[in-house]
Amino acid sequence: MDPLILGLLAAVVLIMLLLSGMPVAFALGFTAIFFLIIDDGIGAFDVVADTLFASLDEFALLSIPMFLLMGSAIAASRAGSDLYEALDRWLYRIPGGLLISNIGACGVFAALTGSSPATCAAIGKMGIPEMRKRGYPASLATGAIAAGGTLGILIPPSITMIVYGIATETSIGRLFMAGVLPGAMLMLLFMSWSWFYAYKNGYHFVERNKHYSLRDKFIVLPKILPFLLLIVLVLWALYGGVATPSEASGVGAFISIILVMIIYRVWQPSVLWEIVRSATRESVMLMMIIGMAGLFSYMMSSLYITQGIAEWIAAMDVNKWQLLIYINIFLLVAGLFLPPVAVILMTSPTLVPIITQAGFDPIWFGVMLTLNMEIGLITPPVGLNLYVINSIVKDVELKTVLWGALPFMLCLVFGIFLLTMFPAIATWLPDYLMGPVN
């Protein structure tokens, strides 16, 4: 059968299984095996276990569970609320200051965890009730945190960047570095929108009767400094070429547990166990998706679907900007239904050669892809962040969160536009620090 038709069929089967409510990992696995058998008969079964194992047998992948553990340790402490409290004391005079503090805290927290849902949960638990108490509408408060949380997969360490690096054989360190400025840019875009909205609606009056002295401002710093140092340390280890991502993440996880134990006196076995338990759950879920997506990619390439799509796109004879627009739309749609990790593993082996052929930079494309995935995180039906927020603040309807997140989603689209116009936003920093790619 024509590989393209097979590919189309595989997509249809996968979407149907996904919509049936099956776990994403198993829908991927089932589709993969199903089409392998169609192509190769019962003999295809022989390679399944081997392939599944091989897709996880990669040293760099294990930085994912480690970074998740690091995030879950910090999330279990009061670090998140301390963080935004500290920012608030410095920024409270600005219109929408609390909102801006919360987004800033999301950004910093993203740098600590590499995971979007973890960022949302940690900052949102404290930030959303506080914002609502001070008179911010529920939609704005929840939307800002949902959007701020998406920074988790852009600002290093980022789990999706690790997966992209492995799938496309690009440098994970370089990818991490490439996420820094776009992350800052998005944070500024989110903050500007919040400021504008708060200013227009007069929310700054709510904050005016508060006053923090310089002493108040400095007294909160010691609590968050160790975590900021940890971020710097992990990044330094990665970019100084001192350690691999896996080493940095392992040590980072270890140190963050120690820090949480010392600073926040979290030493009760039950709490410590909960930290490990939640990290294990999330890691198993993600790694299972990664393994099954590996099987899916194997099926795609052994049925020549990957190659077929690449040839088909090459034959379309569109200019590179049209190509980029199509790819963006495709990624957006895929991101609506699948978790970022799955999208990256399934599409990047096909897309990256095409993109590189068209003259785009694969590191830059990694950032672009991540921005697309961020939109998927705050849009239904999968929109993980929306559900996280919904589970934290149960009295706010999902619809309200959605509306609140919408302007931030437009910020993301604008971010994609800026990144396309000025690719240096992503590539300048890694090139400057690590030298240009040969």
């Binding site: 299984l17 996904l18 919509l19 049936s20 409510g21 099956m22 776990p23 994403v24 990992a25 198993f26 696995g29 089932f30 095996i33 079964f45 022989d46 399944v48 276990a49 081997d50 599944l52 194992f53 996880l56 047998d57 990669e58 040293f59 992948l61 294990l62 569970p65 480690m66 553990l69 001192v242 350690a243 896996s246 080493e247 993440s249 392992g250 040590v251 996880a253 270890f254 166990w273 490990v276 338990r277 990290a279 294990t280 759950r281 999330e282 890691s283 198993v284 879920m285 790694m287 299972m288 998706i289 393994g291 239904f337 978790p339 239904p380 039906p381 999968v382 993980l384």
Partner: protein
């Protein structure tokens, strides 16, 4: 029947604990490796491989526990749109398809394990551990997750649990 459900859930929990311990072991070994390599400038041999295998095993062994605690991400769009009856049918389909996949994977990962065991495969590194020990996590994990799915199906059919665990808010209104 309740005893059976409890037994299988207990089994999933036990493997979940094992998965968590493997994660802890992984972290500790990485820390030890970094210490050896950077503080004492010694070379390391088995650590990289050990940690990789520990986390792979953690993934397969932890999967049943994640199913038990509803941690596998899925798309709930359609199940949420449907009425209770069609949702039940859809859940029946989704659970049994997943169960089928897990049974298939159990069998074929068992064959894979058996091959490694009977031929005495070792990994081609200096450390060279016996591979069957690591591969064992696959059939064990998939077998228990298959059982866990059977329990879920059982609970679904006997009405012990709601399809997709979605509580129907509109039921009272209707």
């Amino acid at each position: 029947m309740n005893a059976l459900i409890r037994f299988i859930s207990g089994l999933s929990r036990l493997l979940g604990i094992l998965a968590a311990l493997l994660l802890i072991a992984g972290v500790l070994v990485v820390v030890q490796m970094v210490f050896l390599r950077y503080a004492l400038s010694e070379s390391t041999s088995w650590q990289t491989e050990f940690v990789t295998y520990a986390l792979i095993a953690s993934t397969f062994l932890g999967a049943p526990y994640v199913l038990l605690t509803r941690g596998h991400v899925n798309v709930e769009l359609v199940p949420l749109m449907l009425g209770p009856k069609s949702r039940f049918v859809l859940a029946l389909f989704a659970y049994s398809t997943s169960a089928l996949l897990c049974f298939i994977l159990t069998y074929y990962s068992y064959l894979f394990w058996y091959e490694a065991w009977s031929a005495g495969w070792t990994s081609d590194t200096v450390w060279g551990p016996k591979l069957w020990k690591i591969y064992l996590s696959m059939p064990v994990g998939f077998f228990v997750i298959s059982l866990q799915y059977l329990v879920d199906l059982l609970c679904l059919v006997t009405g012990r649990e709601l399809p997709f665990h979605i509580a129907d808010v509109n039921e009272e209104a209707a």
